[in-house]
């Protein structure tokens, strides 16, 4: 039986504004995120006694080397190199540390730099399987892998490009109200459909734009948050699962489908009670998998669900209210934190301009690491407004 997360809260959502390319290293982005956390929370560096770090471009360093960069001496430390699943997983690790008393305030950081050539190098050496069995095939990177999943999903469930387009257009509309989003222009469905092909059936606006940036938040106890007058969101329930359904010939579902009943049971709610969803959106097909696997509609019903709902911040199903990675940019591992940080903002009424009215409960989902032919890691968390 899973132990509840009573008393664990999330606070101080921080974004270091993204840029397309940066000459700084990942250390700069992470350090800037850390100092923003301190500024936001008015805590002193010495009062942070736990740290998690997620980054692709920090190499050769890991979290421990980074402590010396920022002069921090935590009594609890974790490196979470799980890409798009990093936000949920970092939260899960930190929450248990706080509950167990191993740390009082944990800073969860994610950030990556993006030099003009660093994306290509990350792709070429992403994993042993990618280097041996994917990259030599056209070196398309994740575009090619997700093109397969998208093509197969379309063929199996009758999804159309317009269905993915509706998601992308709604997210762009959300992004226009997020000052941090890199995309500042409206996107029409016609423009989406007309875009140049990248890896068929994927076209330009189906693909995230790599950039540099960082996201961060604090995990602590409700008492500690109150003592420093920090607005917070509560953690109601959370799951993670890796390498699920490995016998499926092609990915049409991920770990959420295995564990979602426990997620809702732990959180004491159902999909109907969720006010907004922050899904992992490196490609729109993955958003559909999450909506299905997390119980908002049945398997294969994603296309009709998309046709029946409006996904803007003021729609009937607010989704990726910051614009998501598709419109805000994908700052490496920070992409796995984007939804978490946005959810905290929504639940602490700080999402000015795109605030979901009366947001009480939000769901954040993560998905990461295309090691070979599919995303291996998945996770989700249900958060509630603190007050």
């Amino acid at each position: 039986m899973r132990q509840p997360y009573d008393g664990v809260v999330l606070a101080a959502p921080v974004t270091v504004p993204y840029v397309r390319y940066s000459i700084r290293s990942a250390h700069w982005w992470l350090a800037t995120a850390f100092s923003s956390l301190l500024e936001r929370s008015r805590l002193k560096k010495e009062q942070i006694d736990g740290l998690t770090v997620s980054s692709f471009t920090l190499a050769p360093d890991t979290a421990i080397g980074f402590t010396q960069h920022i002069g921090l001496s935590p009594r609890w430390l974790d490196h979470v190199p799980l890409g798009g699943a990093s936000g949920v997983v970092a939260l899960r690790r930190a929450a248990r540390a706080v509950q167990a008393g191993d740390a009082e305030v944990v800073a969860c950081l994610a950030g990556d730099t993006n030099h003009v050539d660093s994306f290509r190098l990350t792709l070429a050496n992403f994993s042993q399987f990618a280097r041996d069995a994917v990259y030599p095939y056209g070196a398309g990177g994740p575009n090619a892998s997700f093109a397969f999943l998208t093509a197969h999903y379309m063929q199996r469930y009758g999804a159309k490009r317009e269905d993915f387009g509706r998601l992308c257009v709604a997210q762009r509309s959300n992004a226009l109200r997020n000052a941090h989003a890199l995309f500042k222009r409206e996107l029409s469905l016609e423009e989406y459909l007309r875009a140049r092909p990248i890896a068929e059936p994927l076209h330009l606006f189906d693909c995230v734009m790599p950039c540099a940036g960082a996201e961060a938040f604090l995990v602590t106890s409700e008492d500690r948050a109150r003592s420093v007058k920090l607005p917070f969101a509560r953690l109601l329930g959370t799951i993670e699962r890796h390498n699920a359904f490995s016998a499926d010939p092609v990915q049409l579902r991920a770990g959420w489908a295995l564990d979602r009943d426990e997620l809702y049971a732990q959180a004491g709610c159902s999909p109907r009670d969720i006010d907004f969803v922050q899904a992992y959106d490196d490609y729109p097909v993955i958003t559909l998998l999450q909506l299905e696997d997390l119980g908002f509609c049945g398997k294969g019903e994603g296309p009709s669900f998309v046709r029946e709902h409006r996904f803007t911040w003021d729609g009937d199903f607010p989704l990726n209210t910051s614009g998501g990675q598709l419109s805000a940019g994908q700052a490496g591992a920070a992409g796995g934190f984007l939804g978490m940080v946005e959810a905290i903002r929504q639940l602490t009424a700080e999402a000015s301009g795109r605030q979901v009215p009366d947001a009480k409960i939000g769901l954040v989902s993560g998905f990461g690491m295309i090691n070979y032919d599919r995303g291996l890691g998945s996770g989700a968390a249900i958060l509630a407004a603190g007050q």
Partner: protein, 407 residues
């Protein structure tokens, strides 16, 4: 064929990504022989891909590379219009597939243009790519798939069609069979070397009747002659077949002095070295020179290069030396994407093997095997039953083969 505009810059060779983990080179080792092998667990029989260090099912480390049938179902395909790699950027659009093999694993593969969109039955096999590393390719599920005319798969083969070839010796029965096989395979132009241009060897007239053939004086023991021919045609040769050899039937005790052995070395080893020094650089520079680029260098070695055959002891030694040099040549040609094909025949049915009992390899059969190897991207060719059997013996136990050959 149209003449090349000398003012235009020759496109320089690029290679597809070549980095692989050591365990993944099992796929390359098999593909070099024209085989499609995947890892199979010796304990539970699970077939797995990508290559791993342990069985994903039972964790056994007793995993072996075993031939696999290529039947597969195409699950999805994509056409890349963007790539992060120079080689593919120059060749976009590029079609790929995701397929499930009947033996288990899901694989990513380059697709032949004849493959229908998913769902479709296809045949998956392994080929060496321009970097010399194995990649999987998905072919239409039928016999006799034409690789030469497929835009993508032509990048992985060294098909003689539309190409210019130099055969270094036209006098031997093998040389003549080779010229005929290359002409039949659609080679544009074939330069045929003969070491004694003042003599008409048997078969000379027949060769000269072939419209593709130009006879050129070439004595691979004469450095100046090799250099002159390279200056004349070296910048046009797409495929070089180094087949000149001297084969004498001596061990150590059966002959006094070193003259015969030195003559064998001068042709079989130093001849290759001279050719490589003079023709290698120009071929390296033309590794990506349009559709008919420099693609392959074929070395006639011998199965005796693997283990000495004492009755032909000095010949074996010269071929072993040539094999070692050919490995060096292969390493030097690889950055240009020019494949070095080493051919290891058993006894050829010619005058120097007169006293050997059959089976022996007919020159025409060997020539056709060499053309197939070029078409199918084989890098190490063991043509015929004798060579195949010796290869299996050698792979199984090299020491046992040494004893068997000396008895």
């Amino acid at each position: 064929m149209k003449k090349k505009n000398p003012i235009l810059r020759t496109r320089l060779p690029t290679l597809p990504p070549a980095a692989r983990s050591r365990v993944a080179l099992g796929l390359t080792a098999a593909a070099a022989l024209g085989r499609f092998e995947l890892q199979q667990c010796g304990d539970c029989g699970t077939v797995q891909y990508p290559p791993r260090e342990a069985c994903q099912n039972c964790l056994s480390t007793k995993i072996f590379w075993k031939p696999q049938p290529g039947e597969a179902e195409l699950l999805a395909s994509t056409v890349l219009h963007h790539s992060n790699d120079l080689f593919f950027r120059e060749r976009l659009p590029w079609r790929l597939g995701l397929a499930r093999l009947a033996c288990g694993p899901t694989v990513v593969a380059h697709l032949h243009a004849g493959v229908q969109n998913a769902p479709a039955r296809i045949r998956v096999t392994a080929r060496l790519d321009r970097a010399g590393q194995a990649v999987l390719v998905g072919l239409p599920d039928k016999e006799n798939v034409n690789m030469a005319e497929d835009r993508q798969l032509r990048e992985f083969s060294c098909d003689p069609k539309h190409r210019k070839v130099l055969v270094t010796d036209g006098k031997s029965s093998l040389g003549q069979a080779l010229v005929k096989a290359l002409a039949a395979a659609g080679a544009d132009l074939i330069w045929v070397g003969h070491a004694e241009p003042w003599k008409r060897f048997p078969g000379f007239d027949e060769l000269q009747k072939l419209p593709q053939v130009t006879l050129v004086p070439l004595d691979v023991t004469d450095s100046r002659n090799v250099r002159e021919l390279a200056a004349e045609v070296g910048a046009k040769v797409d495929i070089l077949v180094s087949n000149a050899e001297i084969h004498r039937t001596h061990g150590i005790a059966s002959r006094q002095g070193v003259e015969t052995a030195r003559a064998e070395m001068d042709v079989n080893y130093f001849g290759l070295l001279r050719l490589a020094q003079e023709f290698g650089p120009a071929m390296r520079a033309r590794g990506a020179d349009g559709l008919a680029s420099a693609v392959a260098w074929v070395n006639l070695l011998s199965i005796y290069a693997l283990a000495n055959f004492p009755p032909h002891g000095t010949f074996s030694a010269s071929k072993a030396a040539a094999q070692s040099l050919a490995q060096c040549l292969r390493a030097e040609m690889r950055p240009a994407g020019v494949r070095v094909v080493n051919v290891f025949p058993g006894p050829i049915d010619d005058e120097w093997n007169q006293l050997l009992a059959p089976p022996k390899l007919a020159p025409a059969a060997l020539a056709s095997a060499i053309v197939s190897a070029l078409r199918e991207g084989v890098e190490d060719l063991y043509p015929g039953d004798v060579a195949q059997e010796w290869l299996e013996r050698w792979r199984d136990n090299p020491k046992a083969l040494e004893r068997e050959l000396s008895s």
